[in-house]
């Protein structure tokens, strides 16, 4: 690792002269030298090991890695806001003129917000819900500048205009919940920029956002980097985001920076195997699954689900939220239909309606020739084993107080599969082996497994009752990129072997060619376009599909 660091300047020099000149021009804004962080009560367990990098003005430095690799701890160390359980053991972090570790806590308070500011992943939780967004920005300004209150308001409006919030004069008086996710993130950026800092730390700023908005925010950060001569530390796990925005890249793995370099060089020519794995984890977009022609297994006709909006003292139904508004599609045996759309478009509600967990307002759901949506809980029982589900978040989809064996067994018991206890155990062990886990794992509890392993357990649970159709509700979006591919491959393999059908609900277009035979694009409760994957992705007919495709980050 140290060699990689020493190599770095020479390597920059070796790369194209143009780039070298550009880098030299940019002056240093912050340097991190051999930073070591460990757990306070277990000093032999390093969280960060000899982390060194520099941030330069007008440049975006991307720190990439999987969850738990120490990216966020690095940015918290810069602000000296590490959690109490952690301790900096060695190294230094310095601005060009000051060493941050030699400052008192009070002096550090002046640096935070004024010189270094931060954008968080989830804007809604980072904003105070009971204050208007304008007030929250003014607070930062009041703290660090001596402007009058009218000047502060003017400055706030100016900042809002700069980060691209429409009607800034009006919206400074809005509350956070009145704004969309993208606008909230813009407010966060405006707040970070309020005191014209030199350095901006952005910790996964777009992970919680939809693709189209993600692109807009990244463009904004890029623009501001140049116009304000900011030095940006962009923390992300998404290689597509890195490719689009960063000037330089550092790859973090288990608390170390294993490789760093210019963005172009890095993607063209990654040196470490792990970096290659990260880059290749983005699925190939040209490889489509062959189409299958099958008789339909599931047929959805004009499905509509409306939620009543109640208002007033008597809770009268005032109007309806049309979560799903008249959609139709079919899924054949052994086929995968991907249901794509941004958050709130009604994809998950559709999935829940098929499971008969949601009351259907209008339309029909046919399974083979049985109408699902009028069935009672009891009538549905024999069909439960035919339709199964895998959820997005592997941490909330399993009861933390049951062993893995019990979790998988539950369905077999409740659906009355006539198996003896030993047969069930055999079956559980076979299922665990099938999803590439050890048979012994059935005695363990979910918290002992990583996210990817848990998702495999969830798959095993769904398979336990031998279903014909599995509804996969964003099964990979909570997973790290390298694990995502493994889970997708497992799903594909199971489809080939068991001929199950999938309804694959996702917001991530990049994995669709890999997994789906057909695609349906959803917007505002309606399907705007559906067809074969290849056709929809290559010749999108609807404007919204084109917008989604354009927003998708590419590596190549």
């Amino acid at each position: 690792m140290t060699t990689a660091l020493q190599d770095n300047p020479t390597e920059v020099a070796r790369s194209t002269t143009e780039q070298a000149a550009a880098t030299a021009e940019k002056s240093l804004a912050l340097s991190v030298n051999k930073l070591n962080v460990s757990l306070r009560h277990a000093p032999y367990m390093p969280i960060l090991q000899d982390v060194s990098f520099q941030l330069r003005k007008g440049e975006i430095y991307a720190l990439v890695g999987e969850s738990g690799s120490g990216k966020s701890m690095t940015s918290l160390s810069i602000l000296r806001l590490l959690p109490d359980a952690l301790k900096i053991t060695k190294g230094s972090i310095a601005l060009p003129d000051t060493d941050l570790f030699s400052l008192t806590e009070q002096e550090m308070g002046a640096i935070r917000g004024k010189k270094i500011s931060m954008i968080f992943q989830d804007a809604l939780t980072a904003l105070n819900p009971v204050q208007t967004v304008g007030q929250q920005i003014s607070e930062t300004l009041k703290l660090h500048t001596s402007l009058s209150s009218t000047a502060i308001r003017e400055r706030t409006v100016e900042l809002f205009a700069e980060v691209g919030i429409p009607e800034p004069e009006k919206r400074v008086d809005w509350y956070p919940h009145q704004m969309s996710g993208g606008q909230q993130q813009r407010v966060m950026i405006a707040m970070a920029l309020a005191c014209e800092p030199d350095i901006l730390l952005a910790d996964e700023p777009t992970t919680a956002l939809d693709v189209t908005i993600q692109q807009q925010i990244l463009e904004l950060i890029k623009k501001l980097t140049h116009s304000h001569k900011l030095a940006v530390l962009l923390i992300t796990h998404d290689m597509g985001v890195v490719r689009q925005t960063a000037n330089r890249v550092g790859v973090m793995y288990q608390g170390k920076i294993i490789e760093q370099g210019n963005c172009g060089d890095f993607f063209a020519n990654p040196r470490e195997a792990y970096s290659r794995q990260l880059i290749n984890s983005l699925p190939d977009m040209d490889d489509y699954l062959p189409l299958k022609v099958q008789q339909p297994l599931l047929k959805v006709e004009d499905l509509a689900i409306h939620f009543p909006v109640r208002k007033g003292l008597l809770q009268r139904i005032n109007s309806y939220t049309k979560a799903v508004d008249g959609i139709s599609f079919t899924i054949g045996k052994g086929e995968t239909l991907a249901l794509v759309g941004e958050s709130g478009c009604g994809k998950s509600t559709t999935g829940r309606a098929i499971l008969n967990l949601e009351k259907v307002t209008a339309g029909d759901i046919w399974y083979n020739n049985l109408r699902l949506n009028s069935m009672s809980r009891r009538e549905m029982l024999p069909l439960r084993k035919k339709v199964q589900v895998i959820f997005q978040n592997p941490f909330s989809s399993m009861n933390p107080r049951m062993t893995v064996g019990d979790i998988i067994e539950e369905g077999m018991v409740s659906l009355g599969l006539k198996l003896s206890r030993t047969e069930r155990i055999e079956r559980i062990e076979a299922l665990l082996a099938r999803v590439k886990l050890e048979p012994d794992h059935r005695h363990r509890y979910p918290h002992e497994f990583s996210g990817g392993q848990r998702q495999r357990i969830a798959i095993a649970r769904a398979l336990a009752v031998e279903p014909d159709l599995i509804i996969c509700d964003e099964p990979t979006s909570a997973l790290d990129v390298s694990i995502r591919a493994e889970v997708l491959d497992l799903l594909l393999e199971l489809q080939r072997e068991l001929n199950v059908s999938y309804l694959f609900i996702t917001h991530d277009l990049s994995i669709i060619p890999h997994i789906a035979h057909r695609v349906a694009v959803m917007q505002g409760g309606k399907i705007v376009e559906q067809g074969n994957t290849e056709q929809v992705l290559n010749q999108p007919q609807h404007e919204y599909t084109r917008k989604l495709l354009n927003a998708m980050p590419y590596v190549y």
Partner: protein, 476 residues
């Protein structure tokens, strides 16, 4: 419920008397033990309890709580002694027929020796040899004087009052030595057992537990030895030994804490879960019930119910053979009423948490694999609420012990026939206004109650830290 047993353990025939509260306390102890054992199965829970007991404070306060529970249990085995047959009445009865005393004793009385059977005439100060009040005395020479009379039992073994201080030192050392000897025996046995069975890597603070146990045993040894010779904490207005009354009050205190909390639990858990899980009209009904209940002052409701029950007891004297049975029925009614009026907070907490959990993916997944409502509640929701239930159980306990004192003070609490700290504190209100003040009566009740409530509170803090997922998150 009485049943006869011939001469046996006690060398004279006794009538074992089982009060309803005795049945309940043993049933409860069994249930709690079963519950704890069932928790042990889950490694997550085991880890959390381990966290509680790997602090010195946790281990010590637990040992103290257990000491209280042990005293309460020993005090819950009741019997009535046979009365010595009166020769004059022998002609009226067949030879086998035995009459039993109206006084109900417990195993604790046996363990304490004669402490409960040393009535004086009225107040006497701790370790006093003479009464607190002057009386008219007839001297052997026939002269009448007004002076402090000698106590009938306190210090009556002394031949010469000059030996007083020497006697105290000797007997104190003797008592402490006895207590320590018993403690060392048990600690030795336990340490040996640990060496044989337990792994050496355990982080449990056994030493703190042993030290606490030794201190408790030494104190008990001292109290029992001295209590049989003197009135260690003096006597009250009726001449009863204060120390004895305070020790008898332990059962009442512990019982009211556990019983009332455990009456609360099923109501709160059933209604809270039903409201949170089924929502809709069930939720509405439950919410209306508890908002109504909350809006009535609790004290008023309790006082009204207790007085109603008192009237019922007075109208049906046939149901109760001895005074203690009557007191016991009133006591149970009080526990029941306290429980019924204090389930609302827990119910609201559980409803909110159930609402949250029933939206989680694993509950949806359970619906999708066709698990029945009952099984979902039993397997997926209830175990994930257990931390709230445990925490509120321990917290409510100390609150209810204190509530008993308040209720007795305003006169709707425990029947005076039953020893209780509340009644002792109630009496103290007039005693403290005397000059010179009589402080020991309040002191005994206060000290025992204080120790119990403090150790329960300390213990509950630790349980809270170990079980509350929020504190876990902050630590991470």
């Amino acid at each position: 419920m009485d049943f006869e047993i011939g001469p046996g353990l006690l060398n004279e025939s006794v009538l074992w008397t089982i009060l309803w509260s005795d049945v309940l306390i043993f049933f409860l102890v069994g249930a709690i033990t079963f519950f704890i054992l069932s928790l042990k199965k889950n490694p997550q829970n085991r880890e959390r309890w381990q966290q509680v007991f790997s602090t010195r404070l946790g281990m010590s306060s637990f040992v103290i709580i257990m000491a209280y529970v042990a005293v309460a249990l020993v005090d819950s085995v009741h019997f009535r002694k046979a009365l010595p047959s009166i020769p004059a009445a022998a002609q009226w009865q067949t030879s086998e027929q035995v009459f039993y005393s109206n006084e109900v004793n417990s195993l604790l009385d046996l363990a304490l020796g004669e402490m409960g059977e040393m009535p004086e005439r009225t107040y006497s100060a701790p370790f006093a040899l003479k009464s607190w009040n002057k009386e008219n005395l007839l001297l052997p020479d026939g002269e009448r004087v007004r002076d402090y009379p000698e106590l009938a039992f306190g210090g009556s073994h002394l031949d010469n009052p000059e030996d007083f201080s020497r006697d105290i030192v000797v007997n104190s050392l003797l008592g402490i030595a006895k207590g320590l000897a018993i403690a060392l025996l048990f600690i030795g046995l336990h340490a040996g057992w640990l060496k044989k069975n337990g792994s050496g890597t355990t982080t449990l603070q056994w030493r703190a537990g042993w030290i606490t146990f030794a201190i408790i045993m030494a104190a008990l040894g001292w109290l029992v030895t001295m209590g049989n010779l003197y009135h260690v904490l003096g006597t009250d207005q009726a001449g009863n030994d204060t120390l004895y009354e305070s020790l008898k009050g332990i059962r009442t205190g512990v019982l009211i804490g556990t019983l009332a909390t455990l009456i609360t639990m099923p109501v709160a858990i059933t209604l809270g879960l039903a409201a949170g899980y089924f929502k809709g009209w069930i939720d509405d009904v439950v919410q209306y019930i508890y908002t109504t209940l909350i809006s009535i002052p609790g004290l008023l409701l309790i006082a009204a119910s207790v007085l109603l029950f008192q009237v019922w007891i007075n109208n049906n004297p046939d149901y109760f053979e001895v005074g203690l049975e009557k007191a016991d029925a009133k006591f149970l009614a009080l526990c029941f009423i306290l429980g019924i009026t204090s389930w609302t907070t827990l119910c609201r907490l559980l409803r909110a948490e159930t609402l949250k959990i029933s939206q989680l993916d694993y509950v949806h997944a359970a619906h999708a694999i066709g698990v029945s409502h009952f099984q979902i509640i039993k397997r997926h929701i209830l175990p994930n609420l257990s931390h709230i239930i445990i925490i509120s159980f321990v917290l409510d306990f100390s609150g209810l012990v204190l509530a008993e004192a308040v209720l007795s003070y305003i006169g709707v609490g425990i029947d005076p026939a039953m020893a209780s700290w509340g009644n002792m504190i109630n009496m103290a209100s007039t005693e403290l206004s005397r000059e010179p003040a009589i402080w020991w009566n309040l002191c005994g009740a206060f000290f025992l109650m204080f120790t119990l409530v403090l150790s329960v509170n300390l213990f509950s803090d630790l349980v809270n830290d170990a079980f509350d997922p929020k504190t876990k998150l902050e630590a991470a």
